[in-house]
Symmetry: C2
Subunit: 362 residues, 2 copies
């Protein structure tokens, strides 16, 4: 590969060979244009757009990297516009879903800094609003910003210079990904109060829907279609994406419970404080430790209780089980990649991206 320019995907210490600089350029154009239009409305609106731009900065550009990997791997050569634009659209989709997910999870920080809800909450407090009103103001701004990003995703795909049937197919896939994510998000919020509690199988389905479809299946399918590889190849990569995405989300669940706050940039209590029903809890619900874990979770656990729950999740085997499960999904993805007769460069790139997804620490 030779030199590795700054715009390659970075993830902790590892790097991907897939350059996403053209995607950043597309996003930059998109935000420049929106800010110019917002300037005709009000300074407040410029500020919201700048907040939205900041929400897309500093990310791993995982979804665009997957689009580009599939596109180039299947021989796509149009380095300029369309694939980068589709990658940018999916990054906006990711931003929209993350912003709304943070409202739903009552998170006011992401990657170690205030997210858009946090920024607006803090400035409302500076204006003299009491804490609950300021939080609501922050969440309201975030709802609006997420709607803009979601529309932007559709806009970027709709305006891509592509044959009309392909553009339509990509818009369909985008809508299907929103459909899946919304279904997963809904289950995610309903699981904690479901009776009987959901089975591990249901929790894995939720993860698949909420994250894997839009983060892995959609970009890989889209990249294959953009390169003209056809629907069967897109289906193949889509299936690999589901496996990769499930492995990715399981690692995310492990980081959300056992990760180092300094590294993940997320609150340490994280998933446990929100009593999110992850596969860790689904496994633990069949352990003798469960009544104790459940009681601790129900009592708005603080730092000490969270540490105790972590130890109980380790002693009951939940941590090891989920680590093994993540590895088994990754292995299935690797096996399918190896067996599929894909172009060698594509296989290598996807295995690299898979390793990043499961070896990451944030």
């Amino acid at each position: 590969m030779g030199t590795r320019p700054a715009e390659v995907v970075r993830d902790g210490a590892s790097e991907s060979p897939v350059r996403t600089g053209a995607v950043d350029a597309q996003l930059g154009d998109y935000f420049d244009r929106a800010e110019a239009q917002a300037a005709a409305i009000s300074p407040e609106y410029i500020r919201l757009w700048r907040g939205l731009r900041a929400s897309t900065a500093g990310g791993k550009r995982l979804r665009p990297a997957l689009v580009l990997a599939a596109y180039r791997g299947f021989g796509g050569t149009d380095d300029a516009a369309a694939a980068a634009r589709i990658g940018a659209a999916f990054e906006l989709l990711h931003t929209a879903l993350v912003i709304h997910d943070d409202v739903i999870d009552r998170d006011f920080r992401r990657r170690g800094v205030p997210n858009i809800a946090g920024v607006y909450r803090d400035s409302a407090q500076d204006q003299g609003l009491a804490a609950p009103a300021a939080e609501h103001r922050g969440q309201s701004a975030a709802i609006i910003a997420g709607d803009l990003a979601l529309s932007g995703a559709f806009r970027l795909v709709a305006a891509a210079e592509l044959p009309a049937p392909l553009r339509l197919r990509l818009l369909e896939l985008l809508d299907e990904a929103v459909f899946a994510s919304a279904g997963g998000e809904l289950l995610d919020i309903e699981f904690p109060t479901m009776s009987p509690p959901p089975a591990l199988r249901d929790v894995l389905q939720m993860s698949l829907l909420k994250t894997a479809v839009y983060s892995f299946e959609l970009p890989l399918r889209a990249g294959a279609l953009l390169a003209g590889a056809g629907e069967p190849a897109a289906d193949l990569l889509g299936g690999v994406g589901r496996l990769m995405g499930t492995a990715y989300q399981l690692v995310d669940d492990l980081l959300g419970t056992f990760g180092d706050e300094q590294v993940t940039g997320k609150s340490a209590a994280g998933d446990l404080a929100e009593a999110k029903y992850t596969p860790l809890l689904a496994y633990a619900s069949n352990c003798p430790e469960w009544p104790r874990i459940r009681a601790l979770l129900a009592g708005a656990p603080g730092t000490r209780e969270v540490a105790l729950i972590r130890r109980l999740l380790e002693s009951c085997g939940a941590r090891a089980y989920v680590e093994d499960l993540a590895e088994s999904y990754a292995a299935r993805a690797r096996d399918r990649l190896a067996a599929a007769g894909l172009p060698a460069g594509l296989r290598t790139d996807l295995v690299d991206l898979l390793e990043q997804a499961v070896r990451r620490s944030r």
Copy 2:
């Protein structure tokens, strides 16, 4: 006109000659398909889709009626698919914006019954969640449902059987309408704490952005373009739509403050309890009564205080001023319609729709 079938637009006692039954059929197909797909995921997801379907029911179908009026008025004759589908898309956009607006306004009822946030809040309370957690659950479900409706709007336009350039133009207009609405919504939430308070001019701009663009300008423009009337005709109708929409929103502000709760289906305290900065307050801010009104608004006004604020808004002339302002926007819209040399049937239909918009009681 002869018989008036059940699917005409109804608004209080008056009726429009524009039939929107084909729009309801498009929405019905859309929800049937989504529910079938949700069934593959979980019963909870079917329930969310049924809630979303219910959120679109019982509305005035104002936006589809405007699309169809402009489309048929300019000679569009394809009674079947495209115009009705675009009307259905704009109805979904309306649903999305209303659902998210209700979250932002902390409203749990609409049209006299629980809205989607209210339905989910109530069932979370039945499951034993405390009030704040149950409200958050309701709002979370509403955020998800609004995202689905917003995606659905783009999906329906993207899949309309239209020449590709026209479809792209409509997708652009849809995105521009979301851009305007989001800008208006942001100003709406920021106005109450702005210092100095916003001028009447700014409040009118906010109304224009938040409501008039997507509710009037967008449908009229789209209908003209669908009929092949060209961009100048679309611009003309778009301008009329801005005037109509501003008149409409001013009437909405009057109903939100002085309306009969039994008729509007909205909470009586409404805008005053939320301290929304409407043109009524912008006018009143220059009256001797203002310090008293402001103090009452700041103190979380109950029924008695709301009644007092209403009397003060009447005695200071704010009510009469806003009523006159609504009438003057309606008159400008009528004048422009009369002067524009539009087809006679279109002019009549739009004047009818305008009268409904300003004479309504809910």
